[in-house]
Amino acid sequence: MEEVVRFTVNGEAVSVRAGAGWNLLRVLREGLGLTGAKEGCGAGECGACTVLVDGAAVNACLFPAPEAEGRSVVTIEGLAAREEAGGVGRLHPIQQAFVDHGAVQCGFCTPGMVLSAKALLDRSPEPDEAEIRTALAGNICRCTGYTQILEAVRAAAQARREVPRG
């Protein structure tokens, strides 16, 4: 019952085989070598596998692979070097803020955390503290106590406001 799923990953059309019962996470990691999304629990409770599907943050571990058909998926690998980052080899402003604010320790939660932050800022460019906390609550981090992560997201939101984009 293996099937081929066609969708867009980081702006590129792909066609990839998915085994029976595969989730999107496995397709990304094993089928496409995009290992930035991590499996932290396999049950939608930690957010380490967060990717964007049509702009919305989802747990790739709970997302049936066939549902990706025809959709647009963004993974952490697609965030740097995109238009917002200002060119190849540059970090996305959210990524840069995570680096600059000490929001990264072991780093296992980081890709998912960054993508949850991106989904938030895309839908709510000026989030208040409660919105930020709510948006990131599904990404568990055991290292940082979240303080510097919240700082980084606030800083990234601030940076967006200061550099209006067309």
Binding site: M1, N23, N59, A135, G138
Partner: protein
């Protein structure tokens, strides 16, 4: 993992045909609960019939004061809906508190109901609002009041081959001031199942007398339930701290709370006493510090 088919019908008819044609097929929308159930070997459906691509199954509509939610409306859509925040605040709060944003982006109100867990967050407010589940099956459409939708833990009132298509919330009657809210009791602030869910809705007349009351509880019995004795204790009486306390006591008495390692029965019962008045306070129906 056990093998199953994943079917993606484009129309409701096709979906019904898939369900009719395959024994052990299960309809799914966000599939969050079902997927975890399969991974954990708790269920082994022969096929999953995805409802995500069926037009018209997701979405929020208002007509003449009544609100219709497509069964495949995500919790995030409810969370982001200014209409529901205003019109159905208890439902808005409940859906906004389900899992994480990632789960709310795919998990649906219909799925939450069909899963029929005693802890289903959206069930309690829908009980408050006298919502009606509308199902489609081979024999056509039928309406099932939410209060009759839950039969047992994990068991809903749908017949095999039936699909929940939407949830209808009637325009509030009687008119007048209406207050409603839902309190999800948890140990941490997010990504939680409730230890207890408490919902209250009251409609008051001009004299502050309760015309209609609904009290509903989650994790206080085998299914989400209405606390009818508590409702009776409120209706026809002025809403005061005393009548709220009497209703809370009635709800605590009629609740079928259990001891579990997630929460002790005495604690759940006591929290019903505490939270019924608090819900009324937070809804703005009662004065008090929340």
């Amino acid at each position: 993992m056990h093998a199953f088919e994943y079917l993606r019908p484009e129309t409701l008819e096709e979906a019904l045909a898939f369900l009719a044609g395959r024994e052990g097929a299960v309809p799914v929308a966000g599939a969050t609960d079902v997927w975890v159930g399969i991974q954990g070997k708790k269920i082994a459906p022969s096929a999953l019939v995805s409802l995500r691509r069926i037009p018209g199954l997701a979405g929020i509509r208002e007509e003449g004061g009544a609100v219709t939610l497509g069964a495949a409306t995500t919790h995030a859509a409810v969370e982001d809906s200014a209409l529901l925040r205003e019109r159905l605040p208890a439902l808005h709060r409940a859906c906004s508190a389900v899992g994480s944003r990632q789960v709310r982006n795919v998990g649906t109100v219909g799925g939450n109901l069909c899963n029929a867990a005693p802890s289903a967050d959206s069930a309690v407010p829908l009980l408050l609002y006298d919502a009606v589940c509308v199902a489609r099956g081979p024999g056509g459409e039928r309406a099932i009041p939410v209060a009759e939708f839950f039969l047992a833990p994990g068991k809903n009132a749908l017949d095999p081959g039936e699909i929940l298509v939407h949830i209808r919330v009637p325009a509030p009657t009687p008119s007048g001031r209406t207050y409603a809210d839902y309190w999800k009791l948890t140990r941490r602030k997010a990504v939680e199942l409730p230890i207890l869910g408490v919902g209250v809705r009251v409609s008051l007349d001009g004299d502050g007398v309760v015309r209609q009351a609904r009290v509903a509880l989650g994790v206080a019995g085998p299914t989400p339930l209405r606390a009818r004795a508590a409702e009776a204790a409120l209706e026809g009486r002025p809403l005061t701290r005393e009548t709220a306390a009497a209703a809370a006591e009635a709800a605590a008495q009629e609740a079928q709370v259990r001891d579990s390692w997630r929460g002790k029965a005495w604690y759940r019962r006591q929290m019903i006493r505490v939270l019924v008045p608090r819900v009324l306070e937070r809804a703005g129906a009662l004065e008090g510090e929340v």
